[in-house]
C-alpha cells in the first residue's frame, strides 16, 4: 500500500518526519483523516488541537497550536507555530497549567486559549481531560 510522507515542522526545527498510513488532524471545520491518495488540501488547524500520525507500528501524536496542514501528492506537511511531541510533554506541568488557567477569568480570551493549549497537551500525551 502506498505510504504518506509526513513532515511535522515548527519554525525553529523539524519535529518529526517519516512515512505513515494515516494522519488525523482537526481543522477549523472538523476532524479530517488523510490516507494515501487524498485530494490536495490546505487547511487551518484548530488552535489547541492534536495531530495523530498512524505509522505501521504505532501512533505519533503532537499538540499543535496555530498551524496548517497541507496535503499534496501523498505528501503531508504540518506547519505548527508551536508544537509539542507527545513524548516531550510534561504531564504534571500541563495539568498544573490547566488548573491555573481554569482558576482564572474564563471570559478572557487569553485564558481560554491557555486552557485549550493545556487540554491539547494532555490529550496528545494520552490523558483525556
Amino acid at each position: 500500500m502506498a505510504k504518506l510522507q509526513v513532515e511535522l515542522v515548527s519554525p525553529e526545527r523539524e519535529l518529526w518526519s517519516g512515512s505513515a498510513d494515516m494522519v488525523v488532524a482537526k481543522t477549523l471545520e472538523g476532524s479530517i483523516g488523510v490516507m494515501p491518495g487524498h485530494v490536495p488540501v490546505l487547511g487551518v488547524l484548530e488552535p489547541g488541537g492534536v495531530v495523530a500520525v498512524h505509522t505501521g507500528d504505532g501512533t505519533v501524536s503532537a499538540a499543535v497550536h496555530g498551524g496548517f496542514i497541507s496535503v499534496a501528492d501523498d505528501k503531508i506537511s504540518i506547519l505548527a507555530e508551536v508544537a509539542e511531541m507527545s513524548d516531550e510533554i510534561d504531564v504534571a506541568r500541563a495539568e498544573q497549567a490547566l488548573e491555573r488557567a481554569q482558576s482564572g477569568d474564563t471570559a478572557d480570551e487569553e485564558v481560554r486559549a491557555e486552557i485549550a493549549r493545556a487540554r491539547a497537551r494532555l490529550r496528545a500525551a494520552g490523558r483525556e481531560s
Partner: protein
C-alpha cells in the same frame, strides 16, 4: 635599565595580552557561527513549506487581500533595522545602518514618512544619540533569536500595518538585515515584506518542483480567504525570524573576521616593538661600553700625567 627600553617592554606585554584576548574572541565567534548556521538550517523546512503554501493560495486568489495589495498613495513606511547588541564586530552594525539610511532617504524622496524599528543595542544607541525618534526597539535578542522574539516584532509591525494610515498606521514594511553570503563576506540588504511580493515563479519551474506536474489544485478549509488570513501573518513572522537568524550568523562571522584582523595586527605590532626594544637594548649596551672605555682612558691619561 633605560627608560626607553622599559616603556617598550611594557607595550609589548600589553599588546601580547590583547592579542590573546582577541584570539579567544575570534575562536568563540567561529564556534557561534556554526551554531547560528545550524539554527538557520533547522528553520529551513518550515520556511520552505510556508512559502510554498503562500504561493499556492496566492496563486488561486485574485489578489485583493489587504496584505497583498499596495496602497494607492503610500504615505508612511516602516523600516525594521537589525543591528548587533555588542560591538567589536567590525563594520557589521555601521553597514546595516548605512543601508537603512539610504533606504530611508529613498522612501522620503518618494514622499513617504519613515518610522524606524530597531533590533539591537548598537543601533538603538546610534539613533537615540542623534535624537531620532524610534517607533519600536528590541534588545538582547540578536545573538540567539527565538521564534517568540520574531513573533513579538511581527505582531508589532502587523499592528502598525493594519492600522489605517490616517491614524498613524503604515503602508509598507521593509526589513534591513545582513545576508550571510559566506564566512568571509556578509552583505547588508533591504527587502520589502509588506505588501507581500509573492515571488513569481515561472510555470516551468513550478512544474519542475513538482516532478513535472502542475501545482496541485488545493481544496481549502475553511476557505481560501480564511487560509490566507491566517497564513500571511505567520509568513511575515517567518520572514522576520529568518532575517534575525541570518543576521545572527552574519554578526558572528563579521566579529570573527574583525577579531582575526585585530589579532594579526597585534602580532605584527609586537614584532615591530620587539625590534625597537632590541635596538634600544643594544644602544644601551654600546653606550655603557663606550662609557667604560672612556672612563678607563681618562684614568690611564690621568696616571700618565701624574707619572711625569
Amino acid at each position: 635599565m633605560g627608560a626607553e627600553l622599559r616603556v617598550l617592554r611594557r607595550r609589548i606585554r600589553s599588546v601580547k595580552s590583547m592579542a590573546k584576548i582577541t584570539r579567544a574572541m575570534e575562536l568563540i565567534a567561529a564556534t557561534r557561527i556554526t551554531k547560528a548556521q545550524q539554527r538557520a538550517a533547522a528553520a529551513g523546512p518550515y520556511s520552505r513549506e510556508i512559502t510554498r503554501a503562500v504561493s499556492a493560495v496566492a496563486g488561486y486568489q485574485s489578489t485583493d487581500h489587504p496584505l497583498l495589495t499596495e496602497a494607492e498613495r503610500p504615505t508612511r513606511a516602516a523600516v525594521l533595522l537589525i543591528t548587533s547588541d555588542k560591538g567589536l564586530a567590525g563594520a557589521y552594525t555601521s553597514n546595516a545602518i548605512k543601508e537603512a539610511e539610504s533606504l530611508t532617504e529613498l522612501l522620503r524622496s518618494e514622499g513617504k514618512e519613515v518610522l524606524t524599528y530597531i533590533v539591537g543595542i548598537k543601533g538603538i544607541t546610534y539613533y537615540t544619540f542623534r535624537e531620532r525618534p524610534l517607533a519600536g526597539s528590541w534588545e538582547r535578542i540578536t545573538e540567539v533569536p527565538s521564534y517568540a522574539d520574531a513573533k513579538e516584532i511581527g505582531d508589532a509591525l502587523m499592528a502598525a500595518f493594519t492600522t489605517p494610515t490616517e491614524e498613524g498606521g503604515v503602508d509598507e514594511i521593509h526589513i534591513v538585515s545582513t545576508e550571510f553570503v559566506s564566512m568571509l563576506s556578509q552583505r547588508a540588504a533591504a527587502h520589502r515584506v509588506l505588501p507581500l511580493e509573492v515571488e513569481e515563479v515561472s510555470e516551468q519551474e513550478l512544474r519542475q518542483a513538482h516532478g513535472g506536474q502542475a501545482l496541485p489544485l488545493y481544496e481549502f478549509e475553511p476557505s481560501a480567504e480564511a487560509v490566507l488570513d491566517s497564513l500571511l501573518p505567520r509568513y511575515v513572522n517567518n520572514r522576520i525570524y529568518f532575517a534575525l537568524l541570518e543576521s545572527a550568523a552574519s554578526q558572528q562571522a563579521s566579529r570573527r573576521a574583525a577579531m582575526k584582523a585585530a589579532t594579526d595586527n597585534a602580532q605584527e605590532l609586537a614584532k615591530v616593538l620587539a625590534r625597537q626594544a632590541n635596538a634600544a637594548r643594544q644602544a644601551e649596551i654600546t653606550q655603557e661600553i663606550s662609557e667604560i672605555v672612556g672612563g678607563a682612558n681618562a684614568l690611564a691619561d690621568a696616571q700618565v700625567g701624574s707619572e711625569n
